[in-house]
């Protein structure tokens, strides 16, 4: 990187906010995938004005900018393949305002989502989205990827809580869009455009988020099924009965076997599927009623066993299996590639059947779990990337996974995003018309293609 530019950046953010050592560049080369590429410089701004000046400078000099928070992404969206500036927002982590009367919080993009959640919970409020990276991802990253999580079935995804955004545009201008109103139909909904744009349209620096009231009680049931069809039918029956549980997690036999192999929790390995269902509410009685009603439905739709936790310890125990999936995957193979294809709810049994066929065809395990209520599946391929033959297989398997999703009228990704890894499949998923219009939007907002170039949209 040109020394003049380094000096200018240091003037904007101070010496401590500019990192250039080989060590610094090396650790800003990756995210939560196995991809990596060094940036030319790392810049850590402390407020929106500094971001604005950095982007303005980058725009004048045509230097690519890849914005990132804690880099827990699973699509290589924040890996700086074009070099340039790694713009790290982790030091912008302040709560600007908590508006208790309107239940709205104004935060900087770099606040850790779990910190934000803990902060509002002190006031009896609740920020529901719960991506599994909640402790190691920032709200900016969550918004840029429109993150989901198990609770989204009942509460919705990150974007459903975004009321307003402060975005630094590609020329350095600061855009404020949305506001403290729940209803707002004046002009195009720009906040929704930037939500999920993965840093390709602007740099999200602040957000106004809607909060709700914290549910005080949670009741959990773990339900066993002898067939995946029964489990799937149960999900339908619960939702059609007008019950929307907070979570409806599915673990397929492949996941159960995987957990047992790695952890020895004593789970029954002859079960075809588990559903982990949780009800929550502000009143104890209604929460208990709901979980009992769910238990009743399960027993009528073919559940072989329904266990409802009596207390907090039992609840933690039921969750143990679900929480053990990730560690188990890691213990069974050096590498895993987890996708998050989403299909219409009714297509879950067919999707799982086909995923198993892929696994058999290529001889590499696919572990399947997911959020059954919204059709979002997490098939994880286990492999060893040191073996080139396996790497090749993985590539083909992923392509087939996406094919399944699209054939079943689903989509490539429910919550991880496109980043770099899913770009090759975008055309098939969206079609020429949609891609064309999206490219035009990108062209208008980022004419010099400096914002996270080479991500999301295909060439």
């Amino acid at each position: 990187m040109d020394q003049q530019i380094i000096t200018k950046l240091e003037k904007i953010v101070g010496m401590k906010g500019v990192l250039t050592s080989p060590e610094d560049l090396a650790v800003y080369s990756y995210d939560g995938t196995f991809e990596e590429c060094n940036p030319d410089i790392v810049v850590l701004p402390e407020n929106s004005d500094q971001v604005s000046k950095i982007v303005e400078l980058a725009s004048q000099t045509r230097i690519p900018i890849v914005t990132r928070g804690m880099a827990s992404g699973l699509a290589a969206a924040s890996v700086p393949f074009s070099g340039g500036i790694a713009l790290v927002l982790t030091r912008m982590d302040k709560v600007i305002e908590l508006d208790l009367e309107n239940a709205i919080i104004h935060v900087e993009a770099g606040i850790v989502t779990a910190d934000l959640q803990a902060f509002v919970e002190k006031y009896g409020l609740f920020y529901p989205p719960d991506p599994s990276s909640i402790r190691h991802s920032t709200i900016g990253g969550n918004i840029a990827c429109n993150a989901g999580g198990p609770r989204c079935l009942k509460y919705g995804v990150t974007g459903d809580y975004v009321l307003g955004l402060t975005v630094v545009l590609a020329n350095g201008q600061i855009l404020k869009t949305g506001g403290k109103v729940i209803k707002d139909v004046v002009g195009y909904d720009l906040k929704s455009l930037f939500t999920g744009s993965e840093g390709t349209l602007g740099v999200i620096t602040e957000a106004l988020l809607r909060l709700t009231v914290k549910p005080k009680y949670a009741k959990t049931a773990l339900v066993e099924f002898a067939s995946i069809e029964d489990a799937s039918r149960t999900v339908d029956e619960i939702l059609l009965a007008g019950i929307v549980p907070a979570t409806l997690e599915l673990m397929d036999q492949t996941a159960i076997n995987c957990i047992e192999k790695a952890m020895n929790l004593g789970l029954p390995t002859d079960v075809a599927a588990f559903l982990l269902i949780e009800s929550d509410g502000v009143e104890l009685e209604s929460t208990i009623q709901e979980i009992e009603a769910i238990g009743h439905i399960c027993s009528k739709t073919g559940a072989t066993k329904v266990s409802i936790a009596k207390d907090e310890a039992e609840r933690a125990n039921l969750w143990k299996a679900r929480r053990s999936i990730s560690p188990s995957l890691a213990r069974l193979a050096p590498n895993k590639l987890g996708e998050d294809i989403t299909v219409p709810r009714s297509a879950i049994p067919e999707a799982i059947k086909r995923l198993k066929e892929i696994s058999n065809k290529y001889g590499l395990p696919i572990v399947i779990f997911g959020h059954a209520g919204d059709g979002n599946l997490h098939p994880n391929i286990l492999f060893d990337k040191r073996d080139p033959e396996q790497m090749k297989k993985v590539e083909q398997m992923v392509a087939e996974e996406f094919k399944i999703a699209l054939e079943l009228k689903g989509t490539l990704s429910g919550e991880h995003g496109v980043g770099t890894l899913k770009r090759p499949y975008m055309k098939g998923a969206l079609g020429e018309v949609s891609i064309g219009i999206q490219k035009q939007i990108k062209q208008v907002l980022d004419p010099f293609n400096i914002l996270n170039p080479g991500k999301v949209l295909p060439d």
Binding site: P22, E23, D24, A26, V27, T90, A114, S133, S326
Partner: protein, 428 residues
Amino acid sequence: MPFDKNIKVPNEEEYLNCIRCGLCLAVCPTYREYKNETDSPRGRVALARKSLEDELILSPNLVDKMYSCFACLACNDICPVGIKPADIAMEMRNVAEQVKPSGWKNTLFGKVIAKPDTMELSTWPLRVYENIGLRWLVHKLRINKIFPKQLRDLEGMLPKQPKKPLRHALPLISRANNESKYRVGFFLGCAQSLMFSEESAATVRVLNRNGCTVITPKATVCCGMPAAGYGRQDLVIEHARTNIAIFDKEDLDVIVTDCATCGSKLREYGDILNKDPEWAERATLFSGKIRDISEFLMSIPLEKPTGKFDARITYHDPCHLRRAQKVWKEPRALLQMIEGVEFVELPEADWCCGSAGSQLITHYETSTHVLNRKMDNLKSTEAEIITSGCPGCQMQLMTGIQREGLNVKVMHPIQILDLAYEAKDEDK
């Protein structure tokens, strides 16, 4: 591999499976201060890997990043894959030391600290905190400047020093008050003997009272933690053999220590020597006997003190006790069984205090920030006493309390029990 065959490096399995999820960032005290990947566990694992795979050279800056780890082990605990970033940082310090040894470390960890006589003679680390010694150390540790505020903090950290080291005051054998039910070896740590002798004296009194005959060998050497922290694993191995041989001579049920750091290192001896045919079995036996004082007391039929100790007390988990030894229920239970004690849980009790051995000297700014977080949590408890079974933590807490002008005492949990026993005696 960029290093010579003779140089001991971490195994590939220790770092290769890092899935880079980033969960360790959430719990790392240095990351949470700087919000910078280079100062994070995931970053350190990446740097270690890249240096071992010859993608990066083992530069002074890279080695510095290994030293910026506070070794609180929170990352080791949380990693879903079983990677131990804190251990890797430690091993990389050792790699650096093998590639380019520093002579002063040999003197300090091999000669001065290792042997109690020389240590007491030079009264290290007491003298180190005097200006000249401190400046020397600071220079050696590659700190460019030292601030007047830092000196003040360091001086404030010094506890009131005993007239003579406890090592000389304690007899080799302290008999149980009544019937002797256990033969207990006592590993008297350097800091405990030299700076917190009142605590260890209380430890022996409490053990004696509870049917333990206590054997305190005097020739023990440093547990090895300081040498390990500065990359001298070779010296740790030497220390381990010396200490094992000393305790081997005694027929003991358990070996107790009241220093979290010593305990965690002594428990590792079995692993450290597991490939040494001559020592493996003895080391495993030795490590299997190590107990923290609170852990041991809560495992025996303990005399419940009938005396009262009226105070609002909180407890800070030393990393070397909670995470390294999984002892955290016992000290709390011990405090809660004492009548009059109003126990209040410290928020984030197991978050590192920032002491991390010598980080207050070598990484003053970070250490101070981490300490501030601890002080904020301490204030919220409104406790009169904060207890913690680790001399490093205690010194760090004292520094923070003095700086903030708080009216809070720092004590070892064992002292509270000892005082409660004495209160009963006075009642009689």
